[in-house]
């Protein structure tokens, strides 16, 4: 309990620091946001009026707290590019990224756990060497190049899907999921490589542990040793891995949405950056960072529940 409390304090501290860093970063950007909105030919009166309206004449801490309270109320101002509330833009594109993340994550779990177990179980045997080599290649391929190859191979050569013809989830959910498979695969493959490598190392570490030998000495069979003893011990590194992977997927989807023209968070972010639509960029950055902070928090709490040895350091 004490640990959770202390971890919660760190969580708040990190959230605070993240928000301050983001706010300051966007505050020092050269260029006047008012000028961006009104253009260079606006009259001085209008500029002054807008400055007051946006609160730009306040001091830095005041502006920070205004901005933060806006964020917390999910009211982050208007997009310059679309002249729409930032949050409605984000909530429109969020489901695409969420589904993409979910499918990639499932693919990663589905493939990396058995492969990691095989590689560890037959350590240094042929199957392990094959898995290691494939792993090495998969972590060396940039996800966007995989995306391009998939578009060419499955889209143009085999015609399994029509590249660029995104199916909206409101219209045809199955078609939408279908369209997401190849992008998800492009995100998943490099991460499967990372996961397999990680799992192999930690499983080998567990299987050579002394307590495993003790378990065998009591008359446990292979399966009992695996389920009753190794599983829970291997769960902790697995949790850490999952936390890491979700962050990687978020990173990957920013690029992959661009490759497959998916109208998700990533594409919104890139188009906002190209347009210098600062309110949208700022909100996206902070929301994504908050999600990551919460994931890390959840992972730490899970680790604490699994392993009672983890205490306040």
């Amino acid at each position: 309990m004490k640990y959770i409390l202390r971890r919660f304090v760190t969580l708040l501290l990190t959230l605070f620091l993240v928000s301050v860093l983001t706010f300051i970063a966007f505050d020092i950007i050269p260029g006047d946001p008012v000028e961006l909105i009104l253009g260079t030919q606006a009259s001085p009166e209008r500029i002054t009026a807008l400055r007051t309206q946006l609160g730009l004449n306040e001091s830095l801490p005041v502006r920070y707290f205004d901005w933060l309270s806006g964020l917390l109320k999910f009211n982050a101002g208007n997009s310059i590019q679309y002249s729409r509330p930032v949050n409605s833009l984000i909530s429109n594109s969020f489901p695409v990224t969420a589904w993409l993340t979910f499918i990639s994550f499932s693919l990663i779990v589905l493939f990396s756990i058995p492969l990691g177990i095989f590689a560890a179980k037959w350590k240094n045997k042929l199957i392990d060497k094959i898995i290691s080599t494939v792993t090495m290649f998969s972590v060396s391929v940039p996800n966007f190049f995989l995306g391009v190859i998939f578009i060419w191979l499955f889209g143009i050569v085999f015609k399994l899907f029509s590249p660029g013809r995104y199916v909206d989830y409101h219209e045809n959910f199955i078609g939408f999921l279908n369209y997401l498979i190849f992008p998800a695969l492009a995100i998943a493959i490099p991460n499967i490589g990372i996961s397999v490598k990680f799992l192999r190392t930690s499983l080998i570490g567990q299987m050579n542990a002394d307590y495993v030998r003790t378990a065998y000495s009591k008359g446990n069979g292979d399966i009992a040793v695996l389920c009753r003893h190794v599983f829970r011990n291997a769960l902790a590194p697995l949790m850490t891995l999952f936390g890491m992977i979700i962050v990687e997927i978020l990173s990957g989807s920013i690029v992959i949405e661009q490759v497959f023209a998916l109208p998700g968070i990533g594409r919104l972010l890139i188009s906002s950056i190209t347009f210098r639509d600062l309110p949208v960029i700022e909100s996206l950055a902070i929301y994504i960072a908050f999600i990551v902070v919460f994931i890390n928090f959840a992972v730490d709490i899970a680790l604490q529940l699994i392993d009672p040895r983890i205490k306040i350091k």
Partner: protein
């Protein structure tokens, strides 16, 4: 076991050697000018005249790819070395001084780490506005946290060793202890981190360039070449594959080298 490490290392050195010599030779000679467009020769296939064909503007892909290698490697080396430098300074300070300095540095590092890598780079690009060196600064930030962590944990490990205590007794200044006594012990770990960092930097740079936020056209960069070729994938998959393959091969080279070094250290 030993044989295998050496194989990994040799293969890594071999691949990187080829890529670097191609990049260096592009300063002196390229079969064609990488910037000259020649619409009449667009989408040429592989031939003796154009080793790896031509792109949508009729530019020689081989010339562009080896020129691109130059910029990609330049960005990777700059970002990783500056990331390492900052990481060493921050990590040594946090680890050796401990206390408040450690707490402040590590909390900020944690906060920076809360941004997924590519998002952080994108935010930096936005903040810094697009310029020639923006991409280097943006990517440099990505590497500071991991190098800081590595150096910090290494410092903590050596901080209480006898040789450090001895230096303290002799009256060496903290700076001297940090840089002369502790740092050299971390070189092996840093070396493998740097090699892995280089492969990550190449992936990150080409990713940013693919998004149009890295090296700006007309300078050829592998990521941007891939992006431009994607529109013409139907006519000419080759112009997309060549830069893609170059990225894979280079990254693979650094990964093999890193793996070899890591195994040798163990």
């Amino acid at each position: 076991m030993n044989k295998k490490n050496d194989f990994d290392m040799k293969l890594g050195f071999f691949i990187i050697g080829i890529v670097i010599s191609l990049a260096v030779s592009s300063f002196f000679y390229t079969p064609y000018d990488p910037y000259t467009m020649d619409i009449s020769h667009r989408f040429n296939g592989v031939s003796i005249k154009h080793l790896l064909g031509t792109d949508n503007f009729g530019r020689d892909i081989f010339s562009r790819v080896i020129t691109g290698a130059r910029f990609t490697l330049f960005v990777a080396i700059c970002t990783v070395s500056s990331g390492t430098l900052f990481g060493i300074i921050l990590g040594l300070t946090a680890g050796y001084l401990g206390g408040v300095a450690d707490e402040i540095i590590m909390r900020i590092i944690d906060a920076i780490n809360s941004f997924p890598a590519i998002l952080l780079a994108l935010v930096m690009v936005t903040v810094l506005n697009q310029g020639k060196y923006t991409i280097i600064v943006a990517l440099c930030i990505l590497f500071v946290p991991s190098f800081t962590r590595i150096v910090r944990s290494g410092t903590l490990q050596y901080k209480n060793n006898e040789f450090v205590k001895l230096a303290q007794v002799i009256g060496a200044s903290p700076l001297r202890i940090m840089f002369v006594h502790i740092l050299p012990n971390l070189y092996p770990t840093l070396l493998s981190a740097i090699v892995v960092g280089l492969s990550n930097a190449i992936l990150a740079e080409s990713g940013m360039s693919y998004l149009g936020l890295g090296i700006q056209p007309p300078i050829p960069s592998w990521g941007r070449m891939l992006y431009e070729a994607q529109t013409h994938l139907f006519h000419s998959p080759l112009s997309a594959f060549v830069p893609g393959m170059f990225i894979i091969i280079t990254v693979l080279g650094f990964n093999f080298l890193g793996e070899g070094i890591r195994k040798r250290l163990n």
